[in-house]
């Protein structure tokens, strides 16, 4: 609780000190123009309470607001939470189980309607009414959430979310202290929508928001048009800054190759998809001023099924971890400029990360080289030599390459291996379902919010494993009661002492790494290729490029 109060106070102070200079930085001479963005395809529903894709989360940033928000700032400053529709960070009481917000006055939705506390209560209820994908995880700790999850349509969150119209306060009660609850409220799934919003998936119909922009047209087969919200008046530059372009035109349908060419010709400003690998050399030499490379808090890994032979044997898993050459994988991804070899779960510079690399030629802090002799020895000792292993990968050029490489590594240490690329549309759910008996796969995890638990607890806790379900994100089926208990302890400790919690998370990271339920491969970097005329590029570690903070004139 102490930590939350301090954080709230610090954030409030930061809000006050930040606003003045930041507002002055807005350069009016760059205001205006049309910015054209490109993506291979649309990313599903426009409903911010439902959509769970990076592509639309990025575009929701200038459209919607929550009570709190991740700061619209460059780099890791973007991990900081600031007050958004709330006047200030919440007052935390009741041993960290009650959060009280005061709603700002005078804010309107893009349809002209005032934002009231009723909208806030209705929005939190709506998360459950539309069966939002994180309603059972992120928001399951709200008092009354259990009833809402059991009967979504009649959800009231009684005792969980209450509002006082007279004072403009909203009180949220949770069942037990949660150090990450504020992070969860800052996610797009908890943005505030008008109380009258239908309690069903909005699909292709834009829902009014409070952000600087609003969607004026949308066709999932063609594109999306964002125009200025006529009712927007900036209240906090770090939470919801005014944007530069008058119009953002987001077009769908061009391949990555075509998108690169369009940007080179100045016909578009930016592409969502990563540039194809065969264009990287050209971009890195002829267009280096237009390329931005940014580190990500993400993880490419190869989950090993701890409930199926041969990887139900710890030595067999460690053998694969020893054998995989991370440098080769980095090269397959595009070279060391675009990726960094890793040996553990938590990405570098992440809360709780302490360099640790046990499965390498010279075990220590960093990865050096594969140790094939040790790997072969472990395979012999495990008694699994000669067993058949199938690696399931996504049907994309990079994943297929990694799969083929892993197949050759497995063969070289004594397994009979093959690799199966399956459609990207189904691979992620396919590898989660135990009925498919996947022994090994290649997957990626991109953080939802910056907390160690978002990697370790989500990917490797017993609760994240669900037999026979497509939503069993603990793909390895790893469940260690001792490690699980430590994770619970770290989660509880985070409420009062985040530094101590991070130390514990570092221990947990090492313990999980030692058990090798997955082979850590590399941490990727993000490539943004932009047009020559695009200025003021800012990359936010949480939601990536801040679209409307760049200018085109």
């Amino acid at each position: 609780m102490k930590k939350l109060l301090l954080a709230a106070a610090a954030a409030a102070l930061l809000t006050c000190t930040w606003q003045a200079p930041a507002s002055a930085e807005y350069l009016k001479e760059h205001r205006g123009g049309t910015m054209r963005l490109l993506a291979r395809s649309a990313a599903g529903t426009l409903d911010p309470h439902i959509n769970y894709t990076l592509q639309y989360w990025q575009i929701f940033q200038p459209l919607y607001d929550g009570l709190v928000a991740f700061r619209k700032a460059e780099g890791k400053d973007g991990f900081k939470i600031v007050a958004d529709l709330a006047e200030d960070m919440p007052t935390v009481s009741n041993d960290g189980k009650t959060f009280t917000f005061k709603l700002r006055k005078g804010i309107k939705f893009s349809n002209g309607q005032d934002v009231t506390v009723k909208d806030v209560v209705a929005s939190y209820q709506r998360i459950f009414k539309v069966s939002g994908p994180t309603s059972g995880t992120f928001y399951a700790g709200i008092v009354g959430a259990d009833k809402c999850l059991a009967d979504t349509k009649s959800c009231t969150l009684e005792g969980g979310v209450t509002a006082d119209e007279a004072t403009g306060t909203i009180t949220i009660n949770i069942t037990k202290p949660d150090a990450e609850f504020i992070d969860k409220l800052a996610m797009p799934h908890a943005v505030i929508l008008p109380a009258g919003t239908p309690t069903e998936d909005a699909g292709s119909n834009p829902i009014p928001g409070t952000g600087a922009y609003t969607i004026s047209a949308y066709d999932p087969n063609k594109g999306m048009t964002l125009v200025r919200n006529p009712h927007f008046k900036q209240w906090s530059e770090e939470a919801q800054p005014d944007g530069y372009p008058d119009v953002v035109q987001y077009d769908f349908g061009l391949t990555e190759e075509a998108a690169v060419t369009a940007i080179q010709k100045g016909e578009a400003e930016w592409m969502f998809d990563q540039p194809p690998t065969d264009r990287l050399v050209e971009l890195g030499t002829k267009y280096m001023d237009q390329v931005h490379i940014s580190p990500l808090t993400a993880w490419w890994y190869a989950p090993l099924n701890t409930r199926l032979a041969p990887f139900d044997n710890e030595k067999a898993r460690q053998a694969v971890a020893y054998a995989v050459d991370r440098n080769t994988l980095v090269n397959l991804f595009g070279g060391k400029v675009l990726a960094t070899p890793v040996c553990q779960v938590l990405p570098p510079d992440f809360p709780g990360h302490e360099d640790y690399c046990p499965f390498t030629k010279n075990p220590g802090a960093k990865w050096s080289a594969p140790d094939l002799d040790k790997a072969k020895q472990l395979v012999e000792e495990s008694g699994t030599k000669g067993q058949k292993v199938t690696v399931i990968v996504e049907d994309t050029a990079v994943s297929r390459s990694i799969g083929v490489y892993l197949q050759s590594v497995l063969t070289s240490i004594g397994y009979v291996a093959d690799v199966k690329p399956i459609s990207s549309n189904i691979q992620f759910t396919y590898i989660q379902n135990t009925n498919n008996k996947v022994q090994m796969s290649v997957s990626q995890w991109y953080q939802d919010y910056p907390a160690a638990s978002n990697f370790l607890n989500i990917l490797f806790s017993c609760a994240s494993f669900r037999e026979g379900s497509d939503a069993s994100i603990n793909i390895s089926g790893f469940c260690d009661k001792d490690i699980d208990a430590k994770m619970q302890k770290a989660l509880e400790l985070g409420v009062t002492d985040q530094d101590a919690a991070n130390k514990l998370w570092a221990e947990i990271d090492k313990a999980v790494t030692d058990k090798a339920p997955a082979v850590p491969l590399f941490t990727p970097k993000h490539v943004d290729f932009v047009s020559k005329r695009l200025g003021n590029f800012k990359f936010n570690a949480q939601f990536y490029w801040i679209v409307t903070q760049s200018w085109v004139q």
């Binding site: 890195g284 490379i293 050029a397």
Partner: protein, 338 residues
């Protein structure tokens, strides 16, 4: 000098000899056959080529270095200019046995993979053709000869199979089978087996063969020689085997190259979509898929198998046309009158 001319009776050639003569006289068909045979020979020499070149076409060789004109050249070259982004595989050296067509994005010799890929494509299309012909002919014979309920049931089943878009059906079957294989009674086919694309392709084209065969059998069923055999009490199976099957043989022979060409295209398409031949094994379709990621820098990786497919399919089609002309009874009449 006697003016009497001794007439030597002209020896009548059999229908097969006439067809052979007609076929060998068709220059386009013979040229196509020659091209196809050369492709087959080249593909079957794949293991020899790989051994001679000293390459492993199925393993990643990203760190490999080869010698060209006394200089060491990395198979995968990392960009060192500008931002140092990306790798470029070696381009064609045009030297047989030394990355003739360059390397793919795994540093593997494209020429060696082309030959192995061709071998798989040819094997799959040939065996799938045999399977299609066996299933299609059996179905067509039974449906056409026995008629009635048998014909109705089989014809509707063929209609259902026919109604499905071929690629959608093939993709659906592939997704079900490719990841985990299939078990039919005592027979288990592993997920990586070439039998899976063979079975999938063999099944989806059954109506293409069965329907024309059924039509021909329906016509033969009412012919005088079959009616005579029926009236004499000859068993149906014997009539099918001894009287009807020989009369549809020419149709089946014509089907062989045409179905093989069609199957080769289907196999390539399925492998391109990752639901045919599975990596690291190669087929021309998988090599095109690998080359898709290199279209801008190394287009040869996608172009070479594309050209190989086009030439093979064209050769088979031209030869198939020649074969049809040669086996056409009306052609035989014309040949006999010459």
């Amino acid at each position: 000098m006697s003016s009497d001319v001794v007439t030597v009776p002209r020896k009548t050639r059999g229908p097969w000899a006439l067809a052979f003569a007609k076929l060998t006289g068709n220059k386009a068909a013979m040229a196509a056959l020659t091209v196809f045979v050369l492709i087959v020979i080249a593909c079957f020499s794949a293991p020899l080529y790989a051994r001679w070149a000293g390459v492993d076409p199925f393993s990643s060789t990203l760190d490999a270095v080869i010698t060209i004109d006394g200089q060491d050249v990395p198979v995968m070259e990392q960009s060192t200019e500008g931002l140092g982004l990306g790798y470029t595989p070696l381009g064609p050296t045009w030297r047989l046995g030394n990355y003739f067509l360059g390397a793919d994005n795994q540093g593997r010799d494209v020429m060696a993979r082309m030959l192995y890929g061709g071998l798989n494509s040819l094997l799959i299309s040939a065996v799938a053709t045999v399977l299609t012909l066996i299933l299609g002919t059996t179905t067509g014979l039974v449906a056409g000869y026995f008629g009635g309920v048998t014909d109705t049931v089989l014809s509707r089943l063929l209609d259902i199979l026919w109604a499905f878009p071929i690629y959608l059906l093939a993709i659906s079957l592939s997704i079900v089978m490719i990841a985990q294989g299939i078990t039919i009674g005592p027979i288990t086919i592993e997920s990586g087996s070439l039998w899976l694309p063979i079975i999938i392709i063999g099944i989806v084209y059954v109506p293409y063969v069965a329907r024309p065969i059924r039509g021909q059998v329906l016509s033969l069923r009412n012919s005088e020689f079959v009616m005579a055999a029926v009236n004499l009490g000859v068993p149906g199976s014997r009539i099918l085997w001894r009287d009807i099957l020989p009369n549809i043989t020419t149709t089946l022979i014509v089907f062989v190259p045409l179905m093989m060409a069609l199957n080769m295209l289907t196999e390539s398409a399925l492998s391109f979509l990752s639901i045919g031949v599975q990596p690291p094994a190669a087929s021309w379709g998988t090599i095109i898929q690998d080359g898709q990621a290199l279209l801008y820098t190394r287009p040869i990786v996608a172009l070479a198998p594309g050209i190989a497919i086009a030439i093979s399919v064209m050769a088979l089609n031209v030869f198939g046309d020649g074969l049809r002309d040669a086996l056409d009874p009306r052609s035989k009449v014309r040949l006999g009158r010459d």
